[in-house]
């Protein structure tokens, strides 16, 4: 355990932070809070309005981007990854790129399964497709 202070993953000995660091922490707190409030507002907006589905999807896209921004702030500021050396950041960030393929491939797969089922199993389609006359509540 005592050898850990030599580990290079740590920003510990870089500097002794002063009050400007605390200021930055609270600034990020407000950023996160405001983004969350906007997300909630958009979420409720989706529920309260009856937009065409492409617009619903666009708003959901905005919410996803805002969440990614939140993730960036948490990792980069709260977890201090932004203060690490570049190579260290890359060993974390590059493997995570796998998610781009992972998400696209599997969501595509799910949606393709749905389309095949709707095509060949009309009973499934009729039973589960949203009915037009049933109102939103």
């Amino acid at each position: 355990m005592d050898h850990q202070h030599t580990a290079s993953e740590v920003t510990f000995h870089h500097h002794v932070p002063g009050p400007e660091n605390v200021k930055r922490i609270w600034k990020i707190f407000w950023v996160l809070l405001i983004i969350t409030v906007i997300e909630l507002g958009l979420g409720l907006f989706l529920w309260a309005t009856d937009f065409p589905s492409w617009l619903d999807l666009a708003i959901k896209g905005v919410i996803v981007i805002l969440s990614l921004a939140k993730a960036f702030y948490i990792v980069s500021i709260f977890m201090h990854l932004g203060d690490e050396i570049r190579n260290m950041i890359m060993t974390i960030a590059v493997p995570l790129m796998l998610f781009i393929w992972f998400i696209a491939a599997f969501l595509w797969d799910g949606s393709s399964y749905k389309n095949l089922r709707n095509k060949y199993d009309k009973h499934f389609e009729e039973r589960t497709t949203e009915k037009k006359d049933a109102g939103k509540h």
Binding site: D2, Q4, H5, A7, E9, V10, T11, F12, V16, P17, N21, V22, I25, F29, L32, L33, T36, E39, L40, L42, G43, L44, L46, W47, K60, I63, V64, S67, K70, I74, I77, F78, M79, L81, T91, I92, P95, L96, L98, F99, F102, I103, F106, L107, D109, G110, S111, Y113, K114, R117, N118, F124, E125, T128, T129, E130, K131, D133, A134, H137
Partner: protein, 261 residues
């Protein structure tokens, strides 16, 4: 090494969430989170979509801030400061877990009227049943009421009493007349996978919060005993902090996938 552990943990959570996404994309209908998560402790039947989960999110963000402040005091080797902020962080973690316990309890035990096999059933949100399907149109609902056992009708009349209708009902049709159909929204059963994914993923996240609280308590005790002062650095607080922020980070995505979209 903490970073690489967290990266592997991120893949575990990512795989869970992507699996949920795949199933969701394969369905024609998925419950609207604003309909599912609309309860608040002590607010009864009031419709408050996303209110309680906002409180939970706020608690977690707040505890992330107190954690980063503890790490900051650690950098300055200020023992009292570390102890103060670690205490707040632990408190936030416990508060979050209590909120989640309430939420789960409410979802599992809160029963909702669903139309199944031509009659009305009362089911909660469990692993085997989902009461958040599509709304049933009023004509079909009326028809289903006639085939529903009186015990459930009495329950509905008690939960959703129609104003102005009182007295002891003599037969089923009078019992049905006592139910306020405006208040009662009968739905079909929704996709069963919803429960498994919701409880599985929020449970796995809750388990991370729980273990984070345990780690933080250990760190607090070590701080209070002066272990880090003797060691000359508060590195362990920083590592516990990384884990705690990761828990907050995962919540960002759980919140996104289950509550917002």
């Amino acid at each position: 090494m903490m970073w690489y552990f967290l990266m592997s943990d991120a893949f575990t959570f990512g795989a869970f969430l992507i699996s949920y996404g795949t199933i969701r994309f394969s369905q024609n209908f998925w419950p609207d989170p604003n309909v599912v998560f609309n309860a608040f402790p002590g607010a009864g039947h009031q419709n408050l979509p996303l209110a309680f989960v906002s409180v939970m999110t706020f608690i977690l963000i707040m505890s992330s801030v107190t954690m980063v402040l503890a790490v900051h005091e650690g950098h300055r080797s200020n023992r009292q400061g570390v102890i103060k902020w670690m205490l707040w962080t632990i408190l936030g973690g416990i508060a979050f877990l209590l909120c989640q316990a309430w939420e789960w309890h409410h979802l599992i035990t809160g029963e909702h009227a669903v139309l199944a096999d031509g009659k009305i059933e009362m089911i909660g949100q469990t692993m085997g049943g989902n009461p958040w399907g599509q709304l049933v149109d009023p004509a079909a609902a009326q028809q289903a009421l006639a085939a529903t056992p009186p015990k459930i009708l009495a329950e509905l009349a008690h939960e959703y009493p129609k104003a102005g209708v009182t007295g002891t009902p003599k037969d089923v049709s009078q019992l049905i007349a006592m139910i306020d159909m405006e208040q009662l929204h009968i739905r079909e059963k929704g996709p069963i996978a919803f429960g498994g994914y919701f409880y599985g993923i929020t449970g796995f996240h809750g388990f991370h919060v729980f273990s984070g609280v345990i780690i933080n308590v250990v760190m607090l005790l070590m701080t209070m005993r002066g272990v880090f002062d003797r060691r000359g650095h508060y590195l362990m607080i920083e590592k516990a902090g990384l884990y705690w922020h990761f828990v907050d980070l995962v919540w960002v995505f759980v919140f996104l996938c289950f509550y917002l979209i």
